[in-house]
């Protein structure tokens, strides 16, 4: 395989060891240092090969991101390799990241020489042999497995398959605008040259060659890019604080501590396209004048950490990181720091404390990290997705970026769609896309014919959006008006079998556990809120003394307590902690009331509030339920219908599970 690192001829004096400022351009569009038609042809051939517009032997692409592996891609990969070996077929097997459609993983792509690349869905280890036989030997595509074929670039010699739909017309992909995720699931994340062949590092090369830091900050500010991690602060403006603070050392930190349960876009970007992040970091570091950068990444993402280390080592080898990058005088070292599992470390000052080796507790601001951050030096912290947006802006300009989006929010946003929805996965849409479109068109609605109830946006800091507000156009401001927030972009869909009080309780449990304990409103307040929610979902059977009175008292104070926590907590975690409760109280007050006044859970989730009875017609008197009942609440003679004593029943649901005749009815 031709490589970009090979010299085209002797006239070319520069290579990755002796770079010139034009090196990236020279390698991809060049040569620019000398005029030679054969050299140009040679370069273009190498690029075409790296972009897989020309393949000499069949190529298998297996999506082996964490989600792919969870779905069994590892076994598919091993079986496919064994199959090729047994049949004696020469083929290249490439492990790619996640293309984003988790619901139909494992995904396997096949590209036959001269033909377009085709993606296949749900390729388990059992079915991979049959699929390969059909496509590679017989040459036909099994219809039910085809996800879609990749559209060849214009002028490419690749011939499309007859009768196979285009991947970009698939309902999941068609409404998306994939900028950040453009390469995910397409390229080999372990090969820097594939990234360069697709235009990678051109933006960094252009920036450090032709812009000053101040110009870059202006450009990024003009693009309207805002932080994708939650706060939504204008990125260019934030950089300027650090740029204008004189210091001999400045730091850039990439926040990859994706702590929001329900969000996984950062993991997917790092696993599938790590060089995009590194290039974005290099641009950001140049913009603020930092020569040292950290990636603070969750230890729960071992594959992403591995990919990141590999990518950094490669970028060093190609002189795209390190000392005097591309002979420009710009230096950058990137270090990887593993987080140790604390949600609060997503907060900037807590994250800084954690890197310094302290407990990850936030500190009051100001001084802002941009002025005095890591080791007391000016520090800019950007989220993975924010950084991954930078190469596009730096290369194509602020106007290109701001042409997409709403008045206040530009560009695209990646959402992690999960929960009770047919097609789960990563979705990148233009700002201003309607929530309804994401759920009904891209996600294909709710499974099993159930009814949509709400979508939780933004994790523990966000809120639930009910059905009547689905037509809202997503941007930072619009979500706030309905009590949610962008957060990192987790979208968890809930149907009518999800209890909103239970969801609020789940988040309060999470937040009170993750509260660092430094300020009282958050430490004590979230605990009290959880206790109030626990009280209203507790069955009467377990209430003693004045518990019932406390339950009512708690409910009366719930909203006020939430507001106090919001107004008086030290950091973002505490200030947003009551949001899940406030938003569910606002939109689903009827469910709270059903729990409090009627002592029932409409969704049938809060087990202690459920009542059970036995259908005398169906009960055969097998005595199984009576034997298994932990509280001895079921009585009845053998071979005659049993009955449940409501006062003794603790609502555990064991009888429903053990009954073989479906005689126990849950209400």
């Amino acid at each position: 395989m031709a490589k970009l690192s090979d010299k085209c001829c002797q006239a070319c004096w520069h290579d990755w060891d002796n770079p010139c400022p034009d090196l990236v351009e020279c390698m991809t569009a060049g040569p620019v240092c000398h005029d030679s038609e054969p050299c140009k042809t040679k370069r273009q051939a190498a690029i075409a090969e790296l972009r897989r517009e020309v393949v000499s032997e069949p190529v298998l692409f297996v999506g082996t991101g964490t989600c792919g592996l969870a779905a069994g891609a590892g076994k598919t990969l091993a079986t496919a390799k064994r199959w090729l070996e047994e049949k004696g077929i020469a083929a290249k097997v490439v492990e790619v990241g996640c293309i984003g459609l988790c619901a139909v993983e494992p995904i396997l792509d096949i590209q036959m020489p001269g033909k377009a690349r085709v993606s296949f869905q749900e390729v388990s280890a059992d079915s991979v042999g049959e699929l390969l036989e059909s496509v590679m030997v017989k040459g036909d595509l099994p219809e039910e497995k085809v996800l879609g074929q990749h559209r060849p670039v214009e002028g490419s010699a690749l011939e499309p398959w007859q009768g196979a739909a285009w991947l970009d017309e698939h309902p999941f992909f068609a409404p998306q605008t994939r900028w950040v995720l453009a390469n995910c699931g397409i390229i080999d994340p372990t090969q820097i040259e594939e990234y360069i062949a697709r235009g990678g590092y051109a933006a960094m090369a252009k920036t450090i060659r032709s812009s000053t830091s101040a110009e870059l900050c202006d450009e990024i500010e003009a693009s309207g890019l805002r932080g994708r991690g939650g706060g939504g602060f204008v990125t260019g403006k934030k950089w300027k604080f650090a740029l204008n603070t004189p210091a001999e050392q400045k730091y850039l930190i990439c926040n990859a501590d994706e702590g929001d349960p329900g969000a996984f876009m950062d993991r997917a970007v790092i696993e599938g396209d790590p060089h995009r992040l590194l290039e974005g970091m290099a641009i950001a570091a140049y913009g603020i004048g930092a020569s040292k950068a950290y990636v603070y990444i969750r230890a729960e993402y071992p594959l992403a950490i591995k990919r990141l280390h590999e990518a950094i080592a490669q970028a060093h080898k190609y002189g795209l990181l390190g000392h005097n990058i591309l002979d420009s005088g710009f230096n950058l070292e990137i270090l990887v720091k593993m987080g140790a599992g604390a949600f609060v470390c997503g907060e900037e000052t807590a994250l800084i404390n954690s890197i310094e080796g302290k407990r990850g507790m936030p500190r009051p601001r100001p001084p802002f990290p941009a002025v005095s951050g890591l080791f007391g030096k000016p520090t800019i912290i950007n989220n993975v997705e924010t950084l991954a947006n930078l190469p596009g802006i730096a290369l194509k300009g602020a106007k290109w970026f701001s042409s997409v989006g709403t008045a206040g929010s530009k560009g695209t946003k990646v959402f992690a769609v999960s929960g009770k929805i047919n097609l789960t996965g990563l979705v990148e849409v233009a700002m201003g896309t309607k929530l309804r479109q994401i759920i009904e068109d891209i996600g294909q609605g709710i499974p099993n014919g159930r009814k949509f109830k709400a979508v939780q946006v933004g994790g523990p800091s966000g809120g639930c959006v009910p059905a009547q507000h689905l037509d809202i156009e997503i941007d930072y401001e619009s979500l706030k008006t309905i009590g949610a927030m962008m957060g990192s972009g987790g979208l968890v869909v809930m149907d009518d079998q999800t209890c909103m009080v239970d969801v609020a309780k789940f988040f309060m449990n999470f937040v009170q556990r993750e509260s660092c304990g430094k300020c009282i409103p958050c430490r004590e307040g979230t605990r009290r809120m959880l206790e109030i929610l626990q009280a209203i979902t507790r069955g009467r059977g377990r209430e003693t003394g004045s518990d019932a009175l406390d339950r009512f008292k708690g409910v009366m104070y719930l909203q006020r307590l939430a507001e106090v926590i919001r107004d008086t907590s030290l950091c973002g975690l505490g200030q947003t902690a009551p949001n899940p409760v406030l938003s569910t109280l606002r939109w689903f007050r009827d469910e709270y009331e059903a729990h409090i006044y009627e002592r029932r859970c409409p969704a049938g989730v809060c087990t202690e509030l459920l009542t059970y009875r036995i259908d005398a017609e169906k009960c055969r008197g097998c005595t199984l339920c009576a034997k298994k009942c932990p509280s001895g609440a079921i009585l009845g003679a053998p071979k005659s219908p049993h009955y449940i004593i409501p006062d003794k029943c603790i609502g555990c649901g064991t009888c429903v599970e053990v009954c073989r005749f479906d005689a126990v009815i849950k209400e």
Partner: protein, 160 residues
């Protein structure tokens, strides 16, 4: 024996300052599966920090364990997507089957149980990971088969 291993790890961080504390703790846990009392004292000595400070940092973070894990370490994801899809039932099924609570190890030392905030495989919820091996789209019924499979592996001595 353990002490020398910790020495090896500490030697890889010569002249280390406080910012190396978390990476060292992570390496120690990686090597032993947990952070022992001796390790805390030794790390404190190396970094010139009181053992209490080291312990204070280590207990702050969810990642660090202070008791040896089982041969198979089960991580149950309790993220939002997993919760909505019924991970509470999965956790309960595992607890009933193994008769341990999160943070505990079975008496035969084969299994230990941990609850984690989010593994990041939300599209395939509910998910558990056993020694880093993922099992997705689970039901409470499927748990028994998975546990049995690992128990068999343990008795055959195939644990990694």
């Amino acid at each position: 024996m353990i002490t020398t291993e910790i020495d090896d790890i500490l030697q890889r961080h010569p002249n280390a300052g406080r910012s190396s504390l978390i990476p060292i703790l992570q390496e120690v846990q990686e090597a032993h599966g947990y952070v022992s009392k001796d390790a805390v004292v030794q790390i404190g000595g190396h970094l010139g920090l009181p053992a209490a400070k080291v312990y204070g940092v280590a207990t702050f973070y969810n990642q660090f364990r202070f008791a040896p894990p089982g041969q198979f370490h089960i991580q149950v994801c309790r993220g939002t997507a997993c919760h909505v899809k019924g991970s509470a039932g999965i956790l309960e099924a595992i607890q009933q089957l193994l008769k341990i609570q999160p943070g505990q190890t079975t008496r035969d030392g084969i299994f230990s149980l941990e609850v984690v905030a989010c593994i990041g495989a939300c599209g395939l919820a509910p998910v558990i990971a056993v020694n880093g091996e993922f099992h997705a789209k689970l039901t409470a019924e499927a748990i028994k088969g998975i546990i049995d499979e690992y128990r068999e592996r343990a008795t055959n001595g195939q644990a990694e």
